[in-house]
């Protein structure tokens, strides 16, 4: 197991290195560089920057150095100082822009995920155990409807209902008086009172999908011989279901749980835009439109790193969950 993990972590580092190269290459991709962008902005304001000042700036930012040197400056700043470069569009360091939003995205996504799990697992299990019962039909109906309705439409409908019948806007995560306030109990409560709607909207299709998946996985296990063996021991039905077939049916779930990690940060872009949530999605979207390359690059880097880490976590979770996989690692 130890050697296996070492190999996996080594592989992960190599992958991350490759990703960072590609990211930096993408950052460099648009024609021109940082200074020419600044010049263009200055000209738009009617100012003129002298060629001497341009040269000085180029030297200061190392823009005439080779690709590798520039890459090293960029990545070492990130690793050692948490400095992701500057955003042209916002005229601020990227790091001051993203972490707030990453935090909120993470919070929103984790809340959604917990809701999705809390609802779908019990309903999925019930649906499988009572296959073709009225309850199963209701769950199935909800499942298909939930998967079929686009989230942005749900969001629009909810906002419309909010405005029309409650006279309040359903968007945002904070009331106006708290938007720029420092964190305190009031702001936290305000966040919770706004949170349920986006959580509900974002969670609906995931809940519907997971109900279907849980049901299908469990149906595969429910009639296997080992379940009959357990029943023949005299175990009560609910205990036996949870201990044997439900546990087995969660293996595929564990093998994908780490992939949720990047999604936790990137969030639901469309919904966030529709509901004007201050999460990372809209920021990334805007940055891509305005070719704000350091901001885009930072996102790409963070999301890729999370994907790679998530995959590793998935594999480890699965090994922890399923002894067959654990033992096969110990052998290798």
């Amino acid at each position: 197991m130890g050697r296996y993990m070492l190999r996996r972590v080594g592989l992960m580092l190599v992958t991350l290195l490759a990703i960072s190269f590609v990211t930096f290459w993408i950052i460099q991709l648009p024609p021109g560089d940082y200074v020419s962008t600044l010049v263009a902005q200055a000209e738009a304001r009617g100012e003129v920057i002298s060629p001497e000042r341009m040269a000085a700036m180029r030297a200061r930012y190392g823009l005439d150095d080779s690709f590798l040197v520039q890459y090293w400056n960029w990545i070492s700043n990130i690793i050692f100082r948490g400095d992701f470069g500057d955003s042209f569009a916002w005229n601020r360091p990227v790091s001051t822009l993203i972490w707030d939003r990453v935090g909120l995205s993470f919070f929103l996504s984790v809340s959604t995920l917990l809701m999705v799990w809390a609802i779908s697992f019990p309903i999925g299990i019930y649906s499988a155990v009572k296959q073709y019962s009225p309850g199963d039909y209701v769950a199935t109906f909800f499942g298909f409807v939930g998967m079929a309705i686009p989230e942005f439409m749900l969001a629009l409908v909810f906002m419309w209902i909010g405005v029309k019948y409650f006279g309040q806007s359903a968007g945002g995560l904070f009331s106006p008086e708290y938007v720029d306030a420092a964190w305190n109990i009031g702001k936290l409560m305000d966040l919770f009172s706004h949170l349920w709607l986006p959580v509900l909207i974002i969670g609906i299709s995931g809940t519907a999908g997971l109900i279907r998946i849980t049901r299908a996985n469990l149906l595969d296990e429910l009639y296997k011989p080992y379940v009959i063996t357990a029943r023949a021991k005299g175990l009560p039905e609910w205990k036996l279901l949870l201990k044997y077939p439900v546990r087995m049916s969660l293996s595929p779930f564990f093998s994908t749980v780490g992939w949720l990690l990047p999604g936790l940060i990137s969030g639901e872009t469309i919904i966030s835009i529709v509901l004007s949530l201050p999460t990372t999605g809209p920021l990334l979207y805007g940055a891509t439109l305005s070719q704000d390359m350091y901001l885009v690059g930072s996102f790409i880097l963070i999301l890729s790193a999370l994907t790679v880490v998530g995959t590793l976590l998935s594999d480890l979770a699965l090994a922890w969950w399923d002894p067959r996989i654990r033992r096969s690692y110990q052998g290798s």
Partner: protein, 378 residues
């Protein structure tokens, strides 16, 4: 059918023919309600097992042996449904402490109730599992009656240690601590002939061979000293050498513990090695029942005779092709009227065998047969 070489049963065991029943199955019917119709997998099976007796249930594949055996402990999977009959077993002792461990999630009952038997036909001191509280059923499962299944590869949970799976049964039925249950699991593994049981107790099923897994299954079934072990084709999935070892093991465990066994097999050789009595099943019915030696020597039902004729005899040349029973098992939706064996029977009489199911005939020695040919003898 597949056979192993049989010989005349020798060294017969002496059975107490007055011993009380540990299982009394009466007219049990189990159906599968499928989209295209109803399949009667078990159509009124009646049989008894006495304390210490070994009963073999034989018959071709698909004749309902497994469904019948599973109906006893209500282990038939959907869409199977037990639609009639009774399964009488001795009233199980219910220990309040372990009963808690077997209690259902939504059961509000403080203590399980000993069922009050009102049926005037009820045998003394017994309960009908099909009519009793689920708690009674759970107290019987794994404790008084336990089962070993055909597929040792899939009958154990792949993600739990074998020792834990054995200990679980003990904890469900006996007021012992986890450590004691584990010690007993090790002891049981030793008893079923698994080497280094202290180590194997922590093994996962996928780390064991098929034969060892079946030994684990047997250890699990023996965990609470059952009165009756139901073994459903316990050797069919194993290679020939392992088959013989497992049969030997069952035999020695039986002689050691005095438990009764119902062994289900399509192999008459297995029946001959182990059983005291035999029930021959055809399409959901017991068509012949009796003392094993008697049935082997004087088979009555044409189906039993055909089965026995298809078994290689000692001294018969190896290469000779055996004659299987003529014809094919009919499709479940196209069973003949009257005697279901009619279209494969060499003695079928038109006007008699096709009009009504043949009667059950019983001679003075308890040899039963379901065939019109023996009506005259009465």
């Amino acid at each position: 059918m597949q056979q192993t070489r049989t010989s005349e049963p020798t060294g017969r065991r002496v059975l107490d023919t007055d011993a009380p029943y540990v299982l009394d199955v009466r007219d049990v019917r189990t159906e599968f309600q499928l989209e295209d119709g109803v399949v009667g997998a078990v159509e009124g099976v009646t049989l008894q097992v006495r304390r210490g007796e070994t009963l073999a249930v034989v018959g071709e594949s698909g004749c309902g042996k497994s469904v019948m055996a599973r109906s006893i402990l209500q282990l038939v999977d959907r869409p199977g449904k037990i639609v009639g009959g009774q399964v009488w077993v001795p009233v199980p002792p219910i220990d309040p402490e372990t009963a808690k461990r077997r209690r259902g999630l939504f059961s509000r009952k403080k203590a399980p109730t000993i069922p009050v038997v009102t049926d005037p036909d009820a045998p003394e001191g017994m309960v009908d599992l099909l009519a009793s509280d689920p708690e009674i059923l759970r107290a019987v499962r794994g404790k008084r009656i336990s089962m070993v299944f055909q597929e040792p590869m899939t009958s154990l949970s792949a993600v739990h240690k074998v020792g834990d799976q054995i200990a679980e049964t003990i904890l469900l039925h006996e007021p012992v601590t986890t450590e004691d249950a584990r010690k007993r699991a090790i002891e049981l593994l030793r008893r079923v002939g698994i080497a280094a049981p202290e180590k194997r107790v922590d093994a996962y099923p996928f780390e064991l061979s098929g034969g060892m897994r079946q030994r684990v299954m047997i250890a699990m079934a023996l965990a609470c000293d059952p009165e009756l072990l139901i073994a459903d084709e316990p050797t069919t999935a194993l290679d020939v050498t392992t088959q013989a070892q497992i049969l030997e093991l069952l035999k020695s465990l039986r002689d050691e513990t005095g438990m009764a066994i119902m062994i289900i097999t399509h192999d008459l050789g297995v029946a001959a090695q182990l059983a005291d009595s035999i029930a021959v099943m055809y399409l959901g019915n017991v068509v012949e029942y009796g003392d094993l030696a008697e049935v082997f020597r004087h088979p009555k039902h044409p189906y039993t005779r055909a089965l026995l004729a298809s078994v290689p005899k000692l001294g018969q040349s190896r290469g000779r092709r055996l004659e299987p029973v003529r014809g094919m098992v009919p499709h479940p939706f196209a069973r003949p009227s009257g005697c279901t064996f009619r279209d494969r029977c060499d003695f079928a009489q038109i006007g008699r065998c096709d009009v009504a199911p043949p009667p059950l005939l019983r001679d003075d020695d308890g040899h039963e047969v379901r065939c019109v040919l023996y009506e005259e003898e009465r």
